[in-house]
């Protein structure tokens, strides 16, 4: 009987899921490992709704229904409750096995994400995922104009922008400039280089794909280390895109280990 989700348990499951969602969205920035930053209010809202629903249901379940259909807005009209009970009884006698298959059993599965969140504590996608999928070949961004880089010294730049400037900027604004990229380390099969990588997500981690820049001239740190690498662009020598996947290259001069950023994706 324990497997059947009774009323109290249903609400406890809802509360637990709500807690887990609030834990990763309202009280930490863990949710950034899974979705875009803009999702936060929706997650908090969804977590709060789950909590409210669960708590209201618990109150209702623990206070016998005969109390007050009107008060607090919870509870059932007596005749309705009886009707349901009757339905349950007739079925319970008729085919108890079917009954064990009752719908809410699947609700137990809602504990799974809670388990995953608390026990595995899934980190942001790292070098394993990045090594799996190849970066799509650069797209032509005819509509995007790249502003010239101003100022002296190293320029901090998202990896996506570096790749865009490397492939599609007719003014070759990267030439001779020192840039600083932040990402995690993905080893390369080719000798003498490694990739500084950031995953890009459109909505959630299920649609992530890696943005990689090949770094040369610096010893590869261990995989998944977050680093800030400074260097200059190595202009590609080929005239037009070769077939297959190619990455823009950076001649590295300086390397610094950094903490994992709050927002691990671009």
């Amino acid at each position: 009987m324990a497997a059947v989700v009774n009323r109290v348990t249903q609400n406890l499951v809802l509360i637990m899921l709500g807690c887990a969602v609030l834990r990763i969205s309202a009280f930490s920035t863990t949710y950034l490992n899974y979705v875009k930053p803009g999702f936060r209010p929706f997650l908090i809202g969804a977590g709060a709704v789950l909590m409210i629903l669960g708590v209201a249901g618990l109150i209702q379940a623990w206070r016998p229904g005969k109390g007050s259909p009107g008060a607090e807005g919870h509870g059932h009209s007596p005749e309705h409750g009886q009707g349901r009970e009757h339905a349950r009884h007739s079925r319970g006698q008729g085919h108890g096995h079917d009954h064990a298959h009752g719908g809410p059993r699947v609700a137990w599965l809602m504990c799974l994400p809670v388990f995953a969140i608390f026990m595995i504590a899934p980190p942001a996608l790292g070098s394993f995922a990045a090594a799996r999928s190849e970066t799509p070949p650069p797209r032509s961004q005819a509509l995007t104009a790249f502003t010239p880089l101003s100022g002296d010294g190293p320029v901090d730049m998202p990896i996506g922008e570096f790749i865009g400037r490397a492939w599609d900027d007719d003014n070759r604004s990267l030439t001779g400039r020192t840039v600083r990229l932040t990402g995690f380390v993905v080893p390369s099969k080719k000798k003498g280089q490694w990739y500084v990588t950031r995953m890009q997500i459109a909505c959630c981690a299920a649609d992530a794909f890696p943005l990689k820049v090949a770094v040369k001239g610096i010893q590869a740190p261990p995989p998944d280390t977050w680093v800030e690498v400074t260097g200059t662009w190595i202009p590609q020598t080929f005239g037009r895109m070769p077939n297959g996947v190619v990455y823009p290259q950076l001649s590295g001069t300086d390397l610094m280990k950094v903490d994992t950023p709050d927002e691990p994706y671009e």
Partner: protein, 343 residues
């Protein structure tokens, strides 16, 4: 559960009881049954947190868990929103409203309902409970199904996302809108003509004379527990396939035009990406033809693993078994037609 639904003797009795009555389990104990199962879950959670957690660090497992949690976390707000809207339809909108709002003849109601999908912003997880709420309120099933298929694909947010993902290709947005609406209406009409009522038990809701807010809460809890559980099933399957199937395999198939369309359509089913994000993914698959990308965009919001699980959970297995292949085939055919005409 679907066995119960198709049970000739009491087709929907189970629906009423799936949120068990207050008296549930009280027969055995003096007052309440203690939630032992839940206690077990909590114990497992606490013990696992301290004994297992340090060992669960294999990169493949972590990647899988990240994608699984990401799919669930991303879909949950939409599911809650959809369930709330559905419960609101059940609790607050009188049934007479729908008979007035929709054309009397079901065949005319189908395209109207499909177009109405353009108004509801949200992704596919929201549309399933809303459609079930509509059916419970007396909207013809075929019209509710057209709404179910159309709303995640042609709502303004999705169309804007598509336009952003395909800069300079407005025809992609037009094709997506046209093809998705066409599929939704065609499926609705086919269902109207050939569908049988025993395949699609009208989901009944906890109803009654209680205060409106109580009914609202009841309906929401009922839907959440069902749809939520099945969403997790879909999330598990999608995350597993996402980690296990290397995408390079697929790129190799992109060379053959007709195969590319089928591959992209299947990929849309397997990856189960939210309809608001799928345009970006499609755009990144540069190896594929525009028609194949269109197939991805049209199939994704209508058929994918988490949707199949949700539909089977909400409407029953007998329904999903017929509805899903029909929608998939029509979606692929219509995409090819639109791709050939417009792209």
């Amino acid at each position: 559960m679907s066995e119960l639904r198709t049970d000739p003797r009491s087709p929907w009795a189970d629906e009423d009881a799936t949120v068990p009555p207050d008296s549930w389990g009280r027969g055995t104990g003096p007052k309440h049954t203690l939630p032992w199962g839940f206690a077990l879950v909590v114990v497992l959670l606490v013990v696992g947190r301290f004994t297992l957690a340090p060992h669960l660090t294999a990169p493949a497992l972590q990647t899988w868990a990240t994608i699984f949690v990401a799919i669930c976390v991303q879909a949950l707000p939409f599911l809650v929103f959809g369930v709330a809207l559905s419960a609101a339809i059940t609790a607050f909108v009188p049934a007479s409203f729908w008979t007035r709002a929709l054309p009397r003849h079901p065949a005319a109601a189908v395209p109207v309902a499909g177009m109405a999908g353009a108004v509801l912003p949200g992704c596919e997880c929201a549309s399933v409970p809303v459609a079930s709420g509509l059916m419970a309120r007396g909207v013809p099933p075929a019209a509710a199904l057209a709404f179910l298929l159309a709303s995640p694909a042609i709502n303004p947010i999705v169309l804007v996302a598509t336009a952003v993902a395909f800069p300079g290709q407005p025809l992609m947005v037009v094709s997506r809108f046209g093809a998705s609406l066409a599929v939704a209406v065609l499926v609705g009409w086919l269902w109207l003509r050939f569908g049988r009522s025993e395949w699609l038990p009208i989901p009944s809701r906890p109803h009654g004379d209680g205060p409106k807010w109580a009914r609202f809460g009841e309906a929401m809890r009922h839907d959440l527990l069902h749809a939520g559980g099945f969403l997790i099933v879909g999330g598990l399957a999608a995350a597993t396939l996402n980690v296990m199937v290397p995408r390079e395999w697929l790129a190799a198939l992109a060379e053959v035009p007709w195969l590319a369309v089928v591959v992209m359509a299947l990929l849309a089913v397997l990856l189960s990406i939210c309809s608001e994000a799928d345009a970006f993914v499609a755009a990144s698959m540069t190896a594929f033809s525009p028609t194949a990308k269109l197939a991805f965009l049209v199939v994704g919001p209508m058929v994918d693993l988490k949707l199949i699980a949700l539909q089977a959970g909400t409407f029953g297995r007998a329904f999903a078994l017929r509805f899903v292949p029909l929608t998939f085939v029509l979606a692929v055919l219509v995409s090819v037609l639109f791709g050939w005409l417009l792209l």
